[in-house]
Amino acid sequence: MSAVLPEKTDKAGERTEPVLVAEGLVKRFGNFTAVDHVSFRVDKGTIIGFLGPNGAGKSTIIRMLCGLLTPTEGRAFVSGTDVAKDPETVRQHIGYMSQKFSLYGDLTVMENLRFFGGIYRVPRKVLPERIRFAVTMAGLDGRENALVSTLAGGWKQRLALGCAILHRPPVLFLDEPTSGVDPESRRRFWDLIHALSGEGVTIVVSTHYMDEAEYCDLLALINRGQLLALESPTALKKRNLGGTLLSIECADIGKALHLLEGQPGLLDLAAFGNAVHALIDPARTTPEQLFALLSGAHVPVDHIVPIEPSIDDIFVRMVGEARESQEGEPGRRAG
C-alpha cells in the first residue's frame, strides 16, 4: 500500500526533494512477514510518527531505513542515498536512538558524549560547545560525572537524544524513545523534538502512545506490517468513519461488549478505559436502542453520548476495516 503526499515547499517557497523515501519495503523473517510493501516519502523538517501496536513492524521499518536490517524487497533512500548500497554514508547523516536504552551505563555522562563525539568525528573545535549544549538540553548540568546507569529514565532518554544529535544529523530516527518514561519527561522530550524539527531536522519517531500522535506532522498507521494510512493528524481525524461514534460508560465493560457484539447496525466496537466506543449506522440503530438493550440485561449505563473520534478510534476502525477486507468478517477489538 502506498500513499501519495501533497507536494511540500520549504520556507523559501521552493519545491524540495523528499529526505526520506521508502519504496515497497518488505521484510520477511522466515515465513513471517514483518513489513509488507510499505512506501512513503517524507519532506525536510517533517516529524513523521509511526503508530501501531507492539509487533506491528514499526521498529523493523526504522531499522531498514537506518541500514541495520536488509530489506527482503524494496528500497530505501535517506537524503538521496540508497541505504542498501551505501549504508556508511547514510549513517554519517542520521542519528539513531533505539527503544531499548543503549548508552553505556558504565560510562559517565561526559564519557558517553565524548565517545559519540569521537565516533561521529565531530570537529574538535565545536565538540566542547555541542557537548555543553547536550548536557544542558538533557538537564544534566552539574551531573556530568555521574554514571549513566544511575540516571532516571527521563534523563537517560534526553541524554541519548543529545548523543544522537552531536553530529547535527539532518535525519533523526527515534524508535519508541518515550517508552517507560514519565509523562512530564515525555512532554519535555517532545518539546525538544519540535525544536529540532523547527531547525529543519527530519524526524522519524515510533510510538505506541496514541496521545503522542498529535505531536507529529504526519502519521503512519501501521498494523501487521502494513501501512494503513499516511496523513496529518488533522486530516486523519476528519476521516469519515462511516457512522456515528458513541461513548458508552457503564459498570460492566466486559458484559457490555458481549451484549453489543453482533447487534444490527453496529459497525465496530472497542473498549477504551472505563467506556465502550461503539460505531453505529444511525439508519439502523440508535443510542436509545443500545441503552435499552444494556439496561434490559442489567448492565447499568452512566452515559451514552456521541463523540468526536480520536486518533485511537480512527486507528481501531482502520485496523478493523483492514481485517474485514482480509477475512471478510466484522469483529470487535480492544483498543
Binding site: F29, L68, R91, G105, L107, I119, R121
Partner: protein, 378 residues
C-alpha cells in the same frame, strides 16, 4: 579507517575494563594465581610422605636406620607395624604411601658381608610419587650407610663399608625437580597468556550485545575494522603487562634462567598476543552471550594449549595424527619459542620457523576478525 574513531573506542573500552570487576580479576589476578598454581603444581618435590615401618629385627642398627628415615624431611612415620598383613592394610587404606620393612637378619648381614638390604613397599597407583619416594628412600639408606662407615653412629662398622655407601647417581632425583620446573614454566607463561587474552577479548563484543549498546554502535558510521582495532588496543596493553609480569615472575621467583635476548622475547610475545586477542575477538563476534563466549574461549585456549602445545607433554612423543593436530594449536609455536629463548638462548634467526608460523597465524586471524563483525542485525 579513522584514528579518531579507533581512539574513541579504545578509550571507552579502557574505561569499561577499569570499571568491570570481572575483567579486572581476569586481567590482573588470574595471571598471578595461575603462575602460583601451575608453577608449584608442576613441582615434583615431595615432602613428609606418610610412611609405615615394619622392623622385624628391632636391633640398634635397625632403629638407627629408622631414625634416619624419621629425621628426613621426605618421610613422616605414621605408624609402626607388626606384620605384612598390616602393611598391606595400611597401603590399601591409604594410611601411608610407603612401607619400610627391615628384615630379621639386617644387622647379621651388615656385619657379615658389609651389605644388607631393606625392603621398601611403595603405593604405585601414583607411579610418579612412588618413583620419587623410592629414590628418596635410597638416599636415606645411603646416608645411613655412610654414617655407619664413618662411625658416626657410635659403634663399629667394617672398613669395607667405606667403599660402598653413597651412590651419587641417585641424587639426580633432586635435580630433576628443578629441571622439570625450568622446562615447564616457560610453557605456563604461554598458557596463561592464551587463556587471559582470549577470555578478556571474548567478552568484548558479546558484552555490547547483552547490554543493548551494540544496536546504537552499529547505527554509527564506525567501521568493523575500527571497532576491532579500538577494542583490541587496551587488551593488547594489558596482555603485554601480564606477559612482563609472568616472565619476571618466572625468572625472579621460580629462578628459571633466561638466556635469550629481550628483543626476541618482546617481539614474539607481541605476535602471540595478536593471535590470542584475535581468536578471542572472533569468538566474541560469533557468540552473543558473554557466558557462552567465555566458555568457548576457555575451550579453544586452555585445553589445546595445556595438552597439545608441548608445554608439559613433548609433542614428538605423541601419535603422528595428534602431532599433525598440534600445528593448528597456535600456542605450540610460542611454547617452542619461549623454551628455546629460556633454556637454549636461541636467537631470532634460529626461531624463524615458529616465528613465521605465528606471523601467518596472526595475519589470518586479524583478517577474519576484521570481517567477522557485521554491522547488521539480520
Amino acid at each position: 579507517m579513522r584514528w579518531r574513531r579507533i581512539r574513541a573506542i579504545a578509550l571507552k573500552e579502557a574505561i569499561q575494563i577499569r570499571r568491570d570487576t570481572r575483567s579486572l580479576i581476569i586481567a590482573l589476578f588470574m595471571p598471578f594465581m595461575q603462575m602460583i598454581l601451575l608453577g608449584y603444581g608442576v613441582s615434583l618435590d615431595i615432602k613428609h610422605l606418610p610412611t609405615c615401618v615394619y622392623d622385624r629385627e628391632g636391633s640398634q642398627n635397625s632403629q638407627a636406620l629408622l631414625k634416619h628415615f624419621q629425621s628426613s624431611e621426605y618421610f613422616r612415620i605414621v605408624s609402626v607395624l607388626k606384620d605384612y598383613r598390616e602393611a598391606k592394610a595400611a597401603l590399601d587404606a591409604d594410611r601411608c604411601r610407603i612401607v619400610v620393612a627391615i628384615p630379621q637378619d639386617f644387622s647379621q648381614k651388615l656385619s657379615d658381608s658389609g651389605g644388607s638390604s631393606v625392603q621398601v613397599l611403595a603405593d604405585a597407583s601414583d607411579d610418579n610419587t612412588a618413583n620419587i619416594a623410592i629414590g628418596y628412600a635410597h638416599s636415606v639408606v645411603d646416608q645411613f650407610q655412610s654414617d655407619l662407615a664413618r662411625g658416626a653412629l657410635g659403634f663399629g662398622g667394617s672398613p669395607s663399608l667405606l667403599t660402598q655407601g653413597v651412590d651419587l647417581e641417585e641424587r639426580v632425583w633432586f635435580n630433576e625437580d628443578l629441571d622439570s620446573r625450568d622446562y615447564i614454566i616457560p610453557g605456563v607463561v604461554a598458557l596463561i597468556m592464551a587463556l587471559v587474552g582470549a577470555l578478556l577479548t571474548s567478552l568484548t563484543i558479546s558484552r555490547e550485545w547483552e547490554r543493548g549498546t551494540m544496536e546504537l554502535l552499529i547505527s554509527t558510521p564506525v567501521l568493523p575494522s575500527e571497532v576491532m582495532l579500538g577494542k583490541l588496543i587496551p587488551y593488547f596493553a594489558i596482555g603485554m603487562l601480564d606477559a612482563v609480569f609472568c616472565l619476571v615472575f618466572a625468572v625472579y621467583w621460580f629462578h628459571v634462567p633466561y638466556r635469550g635476548t629481550l628483543f626476541a622475547l618482546f617481539l614474539t610475545t607481541a605476535l602471540f598476543l595478536v593471535v590470542v586477542l584475535g581468536v578471542g575477538f572472533l569468538i566474541s563476534a560469533g557468540i552473543k552471550s558473554q557466558v557462552g563466549a567465555s566458555q568457548i574461549a576457555v575451550l579453544v585456549t586452555l585445553l589445546p594449549t595445556s595438552l597439545l602445545s608441548g608445554y608439559a607433554f613433548p609433542i614428538d612423543q605423541m601419535p603422528p595424527l595428534v602431532q599433525g593436530v598440534t600445528y593448528v594449536v597456535f600456542a605450540r609455536y610460542y611454547v617452542t619459542i619461549l623454551k628455546a629463548l629460556f633454556l637454549k638462548g636461541s636467537g631470532l634467526a634460529d626461531l624463524m620457523q615458529p616465528v613465521l608460523a605465528m606471523v601467518a597465524y596472526a595475519a589470518v586471524v586479524a583478517f577474519l576478525a576484521g570481517r567477522a563483525f557485521k554491522k547488521r542485525l539480520d
